[in-house]
């Protein structure tokens, strides 16, 4: 009995002690924590900013000027999930973004892409297809292996899906609502944004693997400079020398890497919710606006160059598409467009002297 009483008494006094300690802690925190504000002088109040800007005379109008320019205050309302700008009354940067997005990007950007298509059509009408100068003998030269072609078409198909869905969001209001109606377009736009934001991250794998496997073919040489000076065989009738890849193809490669990965994919990733969460970026309006402009401007430029790439790989040049579909090209095509590479392949074939070497020959039926 006695021992029992003592223990309960001990427990009680322990509890009292704990309670007073907790209370003291709460009090100390309540007094000290607000002072931590002084540790962060950069989070200046609107009044302090206004005072700094002028003397006391104009302080009142300065106060409102600072507010108009996005000076932050304090709000006890936790607005919107993950909106770090609840404390800001004004953010007039949206007006600039609206002008750039609707004017420069959606309006001039559209005419720019349209102009590129017209230019390609005109070029085709004037220049026509680049034909092979010698008739095909039937002898074929291996150019891209199965894995390389898979990588190319993986990247290309995702690129097209991203282009169609991305452009739908950008131009759909002007071009697709009249066609599909508001409900129809809303359905398509909802699908587009989800396809776009889901496939985007998978897409980047393509250019990254291309960089790893193909960078050795794409280092610029003096031959490429000469190739450009001779108009690349595209302008004029010259047949400038080229290795496995010519100057133009190398430029396309570096556009894919620098513009495609460095600008389009980077900014695309930056706009995706789970990426922001993972890297803990503060999703402010200015951030979203910058990334959006970078993404759409660089994407439009990339699409324009892509149109040129598709043209030259299909109707623009006889026999080129074979390289990426069947993986091999005619001997005549190799000699005309990539003479130095053809010589290399032939030399390798002769020195190894075995019939089943890197340049397998086969006859076309």
């Amino acid at each position: 009995m006695a021992t029992h009483k003592i223990t309960t008494g001990r427990v009680r006094s322990k509890r009292v002690r704990q309670m007073t300690q907790t209370l003291a802690l709460v009090l100390v925190c309540a007094m000290v924590l607000p002072l931590t504000g002084y540790l962060f002088p950069e989070t200046q109040s609107v009044t302090a900013q206004a005072q700094q800007a002028t003397g006391d005379a104009n302080q009142r109008s300065e106060f409102w000027r600072v507010v108009r320019e996005g000076g932050a205050g304090y709000s006890s309302v936790v607005s919107s999930v993950a909106n770090p700008e609840t404390n800001t009354l004004y953010n007039i940067t949206g007006q600039n973004w609206r002008q750039i997005r609707n004017g420069l990007i959606a309006n001039y950007g559209g005419w720019f892409l349209f102009g590129v298509v017209i230019a390609i059509v005109l070029f085709y009408a004037l220049r026509g297809r680049i034909d092979l100068t010698e008739p095909e003998s039937g002898e074929r030269v291996q150019r891209w292996g199965f894995w390389e072609r898979s990588l190319h078409w993986y990247t290309a198909s995702l690129f097209i899906a991203l282009t169609v869905t991305g452009l739908s969001l950008l131009f759909g209001r002007a071009l697709l609502i009249p066609l599909l109606g508001p409900e129809g377009f809303s359905f398509w736009a909802g699908l587009s944004i989800n396809i776009h934001n889901t496939l985007g991250p998978f897409f980047v794998l393509g250019p990254i693997l291309m960089f790893i496997f193909w960078v050795r073919h794409n280092l610029p040489t003096a031959v490429d400079v000469a190739w450009f000076f001779k108009g690349g065989g595209i302008i004029g009738k010259a047949h400038p020398s080229a290795g496995k890849l010519n100057g133009g193809e190398k430029v396309w490669f570096w556009i894919v890497i620098l513009l495609g990965v460095g600008a389009v994919s980077f900014s695309g990733f930056a706009l995706i919710g789970w990426v922001q969460e993972y890297f803990g970026v503060e999703f402010t309006r200015s951030y979203a606006q910058y990334m959006h402009i970078l993404h759409s401007v660089s994407a439009l430029l990339w699409i324009a160059v892509f149109f040129g790439h598709v043209y030259i790989g299909t109707i623009g040049s006889e026999g080129s598409l074979d390289a990426m579909t069947r993986g091999h090209v005619s001997k005549e095509w190799a000699k005309q467009h990539h003479d130095l590479w053809y010589d290399e392949v032939k030399d390798a074939e002769e020195s190894s002297a075995s019939p089943a070497s890197s340049s397998e020959t086969e006859s076309t039926a």
Binding site: S45, V46, T47, A48, Q59, R60, F63, W64, V67, R68, G71, G73, Y74, S75, S76, V77, V78, S79, S80, V81, A82, N83, E85, T86, N87, T88, L89, Y90, N91, I92, G94, Q95, W97, R98, R101, N102, L169, L170, G172, R173, I177, P182, E183, F185, S186, A189, G190, I193, N194, N197, I272, G273, W274, V275, Q276, E277, R285, A288, Q289, H292
Partner: protein, 195 residues
Amino acid sequence: MARMKFLCDAERCIECNSCVTACKNENEVPWGVNRRRVVVLGDGEPGEKSISVACMHCTDAPCAAVCPVDCFYTTDDGIVLHDKDLCIGCGYCFYACPFGAPQYPQQQAFGVRGKMDKCTFCAGGPLADNSDAEYTKYGRNRISEGKLPLCAEMCATKALIAGDGDTIADIYRERVLQRGTRPQTWGWETAYPTG
């Protein structure tokens, strides 16, 4: 025809957050969303000012201009509303709005945004007036019943006033004259640049 506007008198607002609570309750807004908020400028310093802000129902609304699915419309009373059945949650209206009005309900998996929600000036949405569907999606339609937004009706100091632009501007002008302060129609030059 009335041209509905909000005006917050910074000399009167005492940051009681009644407008915020009234709105949240009247409209049963989605979890995580507050259509109205009060921002305190220069908190705890002499000259501290508080302002209650929500969608200002802009004349040439930036949100409407950038929406890829064009789902905004302006009512005859100048109230800017949007159609949640068309909205794809892209976030562009949020990028463009100067007042931080558009918000998105709790994020779904992979940080995907839900349908945008913002202040409706208590005017509901495009669905049938006072229907259950309208109430669930957009909140109360007080305007159709001849009532003003509840936030302004609830404001104890009458700092937040809502109604026809000319009428509330007159009320405000009278106040400014009586107390001898300079007018500060906060946000008006951005929301209603052409009057």
